[in-house]
Each structure stands twice: as C-alpha cells, then as structure tokens.
C-alpha cells in the first residue's frame, strides 16, 4: 500500500517541532524580544499562499473575491516581513559588548 503524502508532511512537521524545541532553548534569554520579532517575520512566509491566491485569476478577472483576499493577505504579510526583519536588525545592532579598555 502506498503511503499518503500527508504522512510525509506530518513527519516534517513533527521533526521541525523537535528542532524548534532544541533551537529555542539555546536562545539566550537576553535575546527573547528579537526572537519574538523574528519569528513574527518568518511566520509571514504565509505570503506564499497569498501570492498563489492573488495570481489565480486570468488576465481579465484579476480581481475576484478570492484574489482580493489574497492581495490583502499579501499586504498584511509584507508589513510583517519587512517590519519584523528590520526591527529585529535594529534591535540586534544595539547589543554591544563592553569596550576592551574597561
């Protein structure tokens, strides 16, 4: 009998939870705020779904109900992607070590 492709995706999902578990425990507590902002940014990879929805129409029906939801989702996710990565970058740039002379 053939294995349902769903099982493969489920395997990826479960293994990723384990990876996430170990990787996140190794994050230093002082970087927990950047951790939240960067997880925000990467979870907005949901934009791929929005793009598929947005491009689903033919050239004469670019705007149908489904694609409009797609377009809106693209903007929402894009706010998060740009905002999330940039604000993380801005925060991380502030973390500095003590100057050597002290």
């Amino acid at each position: 009998m053939e294995i349902d492709p769903f099982i493969f995706r489920l395997s990826i999902f479960v293994l990723s939870i384990f990876i996430g578990y170990y990787v996140v425990w190794s994050v230093t507590p002082s970087l927990h705020t950047p951790l939240m902002s960067v997880t925000n940014a990467i979870s907005s990879v949901i934009i791929v779904g929005a793009i598929i929805a947005g491009l689903a129409g033919n050239s004469d029906t670019i705007f149908n109900t489904s694609s409009i939801f797609g377009f809106l989702a693209i903007s929402l996710a894009a706010i998060n992607i740009f905002g999330g990565f940039l604000v993380t970058q801005r925060m991380l740039a502030m973390y500095k070590k003590k100057k050597k002379d002290k």
Binding site: P5, T28, P29, S30, L55, F69, L76, K97
Partner: protein
C-alpha cells in the same frame, strides 16, 4: 515555470535558513548573521513562488504593488517605533499573521482550484480540515492579539475583565468550534465556514480580556505560538514545506517562551489563561501593614550611599520602561563607573511586558550586554553587593515569595535584593504591585525609599554624585 520538485527543494532550503535564523540568536555575536539568513530564506520562498506560478502578466504587477505597500508600511513602522513600545508592536504583528492566515484560508476556500484542492463545494476532505484549523487558529490569534495590543497600548484598561459564567461560555464556544468544523467538513457548506470564522474571532477576544496587564509576557508568548500553529495549518493546506517548518518552529518557540514566563511567576499555564489574577487576591495584607514605618530619602542620600559603595546591582522593571529612564540610568552608571564602582544589572525573567523586554531597553541605552545578568547568574551576588538600586521593579523583589506560604506569589523565584547592605527603591508611592500585595522590602531596616519619577530621580542622583 519551475518544476514542482525544484520548488519543493527550494522551500526546504528556506525552511533550513529559518532554522539557522533562530539558531543565530544563541548569542548576540551570531544573531545579526542569523537575521540575514532569515531574510535570505524569505527572498527564496517568495521568488520560488513567483517562478513556479510563472504568471508575469497584469496580476503579477498587482501583487507587487500590494507587496510594496505592505513593505513600505512595515519598514516605516520598524524605523519609527520606540524600543519601549516593542510589546505593542509584537502584539500588533501577531494579529497581522493571524489575519493573513484567515485571508489565505478564505481565498483557498473560495477558489480551491488555484491551490489544487478540488473545486468549490467539493474540496478534498484533508485540505478542508487543515484549512479550517488554520483559519480558526488564525482568527483566534488575530482577535486575541488585538486585545493584547489595546491593553498594552493603554487604550483598554490593563485590569482583568471577568464576568459570571465566563469559563462555561468559553468552553461552550470551544466545543462548538469543534462541532462546526466537523459539520463543515461533512457538508462543505460555506455558511458554516463563515460561522466558524466568526466564533473563532469571538473566542480569541473572550480568552484574552480576563488576563491582566502584567500577565502580558505569557499572553504575547502564547499568541506567538498560536500564530505559528495557524501558519502550519495553512502550510498543510498548501502542501508547502517552508510554511510547515516555519509554523512548527514558531509554534514551539512561543510555547517555550510561555513556559519560561509561567515559571518566572511560579504559576501554571492554565492559571494564567483562566485569568483574573490580581482582582481577587487583595484580602488581608493591606490593612495591618499599612502603618509600618518606612525610611524615605532623596537623591542626595542615594548619591551618598552609592558613592561609598564598591559594588552596585541595578534591578530594572516595567516602571523603568514607563518612565523611559533607561538612558538616564546608563548615565548614572557611567558616573559610578568613573568612581571605580562595579555595576551590574539583574534581570528577572518576567520583568517588563514581554520576554527580554528589559534587555532590549538596556541595549538601546548602550549598556553592554555582558554587564546584564539573568536571575540565576546574579542572585548569589546580592549578598556581597553594597547597594541594590531597584528601578521600576516591585513584585520580583518581594521577599514574601520566600517566607510567607499564604502569599499569592509564594514560590515565585525572586531576586534576593534584601541581602544587599542597602537597598535603594525608586517608586512613585507605597502602592502595591500588580499582584496586589505589599512588598516587605519597603519596611526593611536597610531599605531607603526614593519616592519620585524614575527618570527624574536617576538624573538627580547623577547630579549629586
């Protein structure tokens, strides 16, 4: 047009880059590179999506326009936002992830052909289940985060909103979500889909209103986790590896943060979620202790104590963020260091309104991160320090947590501030903290209360040093 296999492998690569982005955060040195990995992963995912659809007609231009609008708004916010507003920003971003998940689910429900999921009214069962889960969790994330945002922003009162029958109502709604999902999957009725969304929005709202302002670190972490599970649900629908991996990463990340925050308050997750903390606990302690004498001082006294110290530990809390005192604090510390006084910072896990909140503010004020310590690292040093300077923190320093089993915060890990030779406590008044309990520290022999705005007091001390 890209072959399905190549795009699947590319999505896997972006998933791995996202893992590396989180991995980089294990130390500040590697974190910036990690963030670049994250950006690269996102660029790959988006580019591959465009290439695999291969439709570069007018629709493509429209997509780019929407992408650009969102991107500009996001970039603008990222550069303008003050660091003290980070909790609100993160809550706001969570709500957007949630809403985006809902919109994608709606788009997929209305036009399943575009996603290879079947046709309207005849969507593959598995996809419909995944879609419903993604949509419901997304909706909960959205409305929950909006409430969290309003509470953090101060638009909505931070005090818990409770009413009779709250828990039975929530339980009833959660059960109906499951029943409606089941009916939706058996009938494919679009009405049920909209009802599912509506009650999911409602439950997200109801779940967060009973939770008080100071429990926000848990709430934000929890919503962070939800946004991940929503993304994973949509990832299963779209059969997209990048989205599944990311959803799992973000989901477990938020869950771990919630766990750390709960442990920092010695409360169970369910205790926080069921809410209402602080509203009920204000019983015996307030009357009999009110009369106890406190020593209060001014900036001059504080400066004198610190000048004669050889080591000082700073304990910042949410009050520092409110008063925007982090820069003034750093200036005070610079002056102390010029007098050869050793200064370090002690951060409690739940100080502030989100995980790591204090660390970011201190970093913003140019405090080197190797002077900043977590509770376990520094707690033994209080006994050897001359002065503890508590600025904007309260409950996390309360010795009652160690001594009084009757206290609602008994068992919560606290900073052993009282072991210092002397304690300087900057606070506006003697009012209790959010837990509604009196802080024994105020009445200790070696405590000097400095009643003032945190920023102003710190500046005055610097002048007197």
């Amino acid at each position: 047009m890209l072959s399905a296999n190549i795009s699947a492998i590319s999505y896997l690569i972006s998933g791995i880059l996202f893992i590396l982005a989180l991995r980089g955060l294990s130390s500040p040195e590697t974190s910036r590179q990690g963030n670049l990995f994250g950006i690269l992963g996102m660029i790959i995912a988006i580019t591959v999506t465009f290439l695999s659809i291969g439709n570069f007609s007018t629709g493509f231009v429209v997509v780019l326009i929407f992408l650009l609008i969102g991107g500009l708004i996001g970039a603008f916010i990222a550069y303008k936002i003050p660091m003290t507003a980070m909790p609100e920003l993160v809550a706001g971003f969570h709500s957007l992830v949630g809403l985006a998940a809902v919109f994608v689910a709606i788009a997929a429900f209305l036009n399943p052909d575009a996603f290879n999921l079947g046709s309207p009214g005849n969507i593959k069962l598995g996809s419909l289940i995944e879609m419903s889960i993604g949509a419901a969790v997304g909706a909960i994330t959205f409305s929950g985060s909006i409430i969290a945002f309003l509470k953090l922003q101060g638009i909505m009162s931070g005090s818990p909103i409770t009413f009779k029958g709250q828990h039975p109502l929530n339980a009833f709604i959660l059960i109906s979500i499951i029943i409606i999902t089941y009916l939706l999957c058996s009938t494919q009725s679009s009405n049920l889909f909209w009802i599912l969304l509506a009650i999911s929005f409602l439950i997200g709202f109801l779940l967060i209103i009973p939770i008080g302002g100071a429990d926000m670190p848990v709430v934000i972490s929890m919503l962070n986790s939800y946004s991940g599970w929503a993304a994973a649900g949509i990832g299963f629908t779209l059969e997209n590896t990048a989205l599944i991996i990311t959803g799992a990463l973000v989901g477990s990340s938020g869950a771990i943060l919630s766990y750390i925050m709960c442990k920092g308050m010695n409360r169970s997750f369910f205790n926080v979620i069921l809410g209402g903390f602080g509203a009920t606990e204000q019983s015996s302690s307030s009357q009999d202790k009110e009369q106890r004498p406190v020593k209060s001082g001014n900036a001059d006294d504080a400066a004198f104590l610190m000048k004669n110290a050889s080591s000082v530990i700073i304990v910042p809390g949410y009050g520092m963020a409110v008063a925007q005192a982090q820069h003034a604090l750093r200036e005070m510390v610079d002056t102390l260091k010029k007098n050869d006084i050793k200064v370090s910072y002690a951060i409690h896990p739940v100080a502030g309104r989100m995980p790591g909140h204090m660390n970011v503010l201190l970093a913003e004020a140019n405090v080197p991160y190797d002077e900043v310590f977590e509770l376990e690292e520094i707690n033994n040093d209080f006994a050897n320090a001359d002065v503890a300077f508590v600025i904007g923190a309260n409950d996390v320093t309360n010795p009652v947590a160690k001594t009084d089993p009757q206290s609602p915060i008994y068992g919560m890990p606290v900073l052993d501030v009282e072991k210092c030779k002397s304690v300087l406590f900057v606070k506006r008044s003697l009012s209790p903290g959010y837990a509604g309990i009196d802080n024994d520290l105020f009445y200790k022999e070696n405590t000097l209360m400095l009643f003032a705005d945190a920023k102003k007091m710190t500046e005055d001390i610097t002048k007197n040093l």
